[in-house]
């Protein structure tokens, strides 16, 4: 190889990766911009929101945060959302985790069928469940209660948790529970004493991800609650769709920021496992 070809090669190998990185960074900036804009706008006074051209520099204010916290029942909705997300997350991780373990490790007749059913259940449009759930909840007098929403969220969380945890348990060495069962543990005992403790990272990440999904859910919350147990997404839908009072962007961005912030923190905490889980969920499905 001549020195000319060599130098050409190195220049090329330096130039293209740089373009590639720059383009990737640009994409990242574009994708983050709406979130940045939301957070920024939430600190703007009304006159700074409605400007052309849009302002980047302004005197920040917490006005929208205070105003909206007082005016609407936002703190109660926040508590409701936390209760529902935690409740459905915990029920789903227990029920779904056990079932995922059964699919991964215990020979059950018909386990294959169950697996296919779970996969199919992910295709069920929630609207097909929302109508009968509303009617049944109404006749039982349990609309607008946390437990109704919690159980409704289990319909999409349990299959999801089952699938993720199944993959997780499949990767564990078999000897673990075998030795525990030789030592006299029952199946259930071996699961809770041996498997659960060593799977804690996976379990916690799955729990956090389930809680995020419950945190964001809108349709069931709209249908099954109205005042007492209503959640934050319902409030946001109300503000966004409020065309009578015009665009209340201050409130929208403040509540939006408030909703997104904790989720982003949690998601970044478990990001490594979250990415792994996503990849597994898509490929081993």
């Amino acid at each position: 190889m001549t020195s000319l070809a060599l130098s050409g090669g190195t220049r090329k190998s330096r130039f293209w990766p740089r373009v590639r990185i720059a383009a990737g960074l640009l994409a990242c900036v574009i994708f983050l911009f709406p979130v940045f804009w939301m957070v920024l706008s939430s600190f703007k006074a009304q006159r700074d929101i409605f400007t052309v051209p849009p302002t980047l520099f302004f005197t920040p204010t917490l006005q929208h945060y205070f105003e909206y916290m007082q005016r609407a029942d936002i703190s109660r909705r926040m508590i409701n959302t936390i209760i529902v997300a935690a409740g459905s997350g915990i029920i789903s991780i227990v029920a779904g985790g056990m079932a995922g373990y059964a699919l991964a490790r215990i020979r059950l007749r018909g386990a294959g069928t169950i697996g296919v059913l779970i996969l199919l259940s992910r295709g069920v449009p929630p609207i097909a469940l929302a109508v009968p759930m509303f009617l049944v909840a109404r006749s039982l007098g349990v609309t607008d209660q946390h437990i109704t929403l919690i159980l409704a969220y289990c319909t999409f969380l349990i299959p999801y948790v089952m699938w993720l945890m199944r993959g997780f348990f499949l990767a564990l060495p078999k000897e673990l529970e075998e030795s525990a069962m030789i030592d006299g543990c029952s199946r259930m005992g071996a699961f809770f004493k041996i498997i659960v403790p060593i799977s804690m990272p996976g379990i916690l990440s799955t729990l956090i991800f389930s809680m995020i999904l419950a945190w964001e859910e809108l349709l069931f919350a709209l249908v099954l609650t109205n005042r007492y147990a209503s959640t934050i997404p319902v409030a946001i839908a109300g503000i966004a769709g409020d065309t009578v009072n015009g665009a209340n962007w201050g409130a929208l961005t403040a509540v939006g920021t408030f909703t997104v912030l904790p989720v982003v923190v949690f998601a970044l905490l478990v990001q490594k496992w979250l990415i792994q889980g996503l990849a597994d969920g898509a490929t081993k499905g």
């Binding site: 990766p17 990185i21 990737g24 960074l25 994409a27 990242c28 994708f31 979130v35 804009w37 939301m38 052309v52 779904g96 056990m98 079932a99 059964a102 059950l108 996969l119 199919l120 295709g123 069920v124 449009p125 609207i127 097909a128 929302a130 109508v131 009968p132 509303f134 049944v136 109404r138 289990c154 319909t155 089952m162 199946r187 259930m188 699961f191 964001e216 809108l218 349709l219 249908v223 934050i232 997404p233 839908a237 966004a240 769709g241 665009a247 962007w249 961005t253 939006g256 997104v260 989720v263 982003v264 970044l268 990001q271 979250l274 990415i275 792994q276 996503l278 990849a279 898509a282 490929t283």
Partner: protein, 310 residues
């Protein structure tokens, strides 16, 4: 069983094989029971109930299905032009959003996968749009795309494009729904795609490079074929999410203008809970359910076929 330190339970189990078999089965199924019970009550039963309502006349006084009317509700639905237009809208949304998200997702994943120090951080940052609640996403984009005060039209103005009425024009409204959905979901594809790209076997590429293959032919004849199974799987997962799309349309356009973005889930929701036409909505829900199941089945079989081929 040569030990003489057996407990009473073990002796009993050893004595009655039928009983021990039953106990064993029970201890196996105990793991499945909680999930099975909840899903039967909250998933299977509602579906059956939906099917029942869809074949019945729904009485709003007693709020229950009163008499069997056969296919009448389905006939009403098929006669309703709004149903067909909503199906068309949903189809357009899916036909644009899914391919755009897959191509963008794998493209950006390729870009950010360049070996450099900040790779992990950039990948982590892409998680942020993914965990913004869809209803919040719809809301913020409503602000960004606002015809008068939105930053998008200001930027478009810099390029000499003025007065884009994002939510007033039917085509632009659909475009904005697709943009919002793409913004929210492409990061999901990016994360799956980066994991897939990292898992590609290095040695094949090195061998190809030594053989003098150029960038394009490596992409076309090595990378893409290796990625086909995962692209197909990502498509199925995204499809399962996209057919349920509801929140973004509700927050951003509420189906407007004139039903131009009224995706089927929003339409059924409106018919059921605003117009209280439960029987027709149940019929529509069943139609959507069956269509989704059939298409999902076809996609899954297609994915398997692709996996076998590559």
């Amino acid at each position: 069983m040569a030990t003489n330190t057996m407990t009473a339970g073990e002796v009993r189990r050893a004595r009655s094989p039928v009983r021990s078999k039953l106990m064993d089965a029970a201890s196996r199924w105990a793991f499945m029971a909680p999930a099975a019970i909840i899903l039967a009550a909250m998933l299977a039963y509602p579906i059956i109930y939906t099917v029942e309502i869809s074949f019945a006349r729904f009485d709003l006084m007693t709020f229950s299905a009163v008499e069997f009317v056969g296919w009448e509700n389905y006939a009403h639905v098929f006669d309703d032009y709004r149903f067909w237009s909503s199906m068309r809208v949903t189809l357009i949304y899916l036909a644009f959003a899914l391919p755009i998200q897959i191509v963008l997702g794998f493209g950006i994943a390729y870009l950010i996968n360049a070996p450099w120090r900040g790779r992990g951080a950039v990948r982590a940052l892409f998680i942020i749009p993914m965990v913004v609640a869809p209803v919040v996403a719809g809301g913020i984009w409503r602000m960004i795309l606002d015809p008068l005060w939105g930053i998008m039209n200001w930027v478009a103005g810099l390029f000499g494009v003025d007065g884009l009425d994002w939510f007033g024009d039917p085509t632009l409204a659909m475009a904005s729904i697709i943009i919002i959905d793409t913004w929210r979901w492409t990061p999901f594809v990016i994360l799956i795609a980066t994991a897939a790209l990292l898992a590609l076997p290095r040695d094949i590429f090195e061998a190809a490079e030594i053989d003098g293959a150029n960038w394009w032919s490596m992409l076309w004849s090595i990378t893409l074929p290796l990625l086909v199974p995962i692209i197909a799987a990502t498509f199925v997962v995204r499809w399962l999410g996209a057919v349920k799309m509801f929140d973004i349309a509700l927050a951003a356009t509420y189906g407007g203008p004139g039903g131009a973005t009224n995706v089927i889930n929003l339409f059924i929701y409106e018919e059921a809970f605003r117009s209280l036409r439960f029987a027709e909505s149940a019929a529509m829900a069943v139609i959507v359910l069956v269509l989704t199941m059939v298409l999902t089945g076809i996609f899954l079989i297609g994915t398997r076929k692709l996996e076998d081929r590559y």
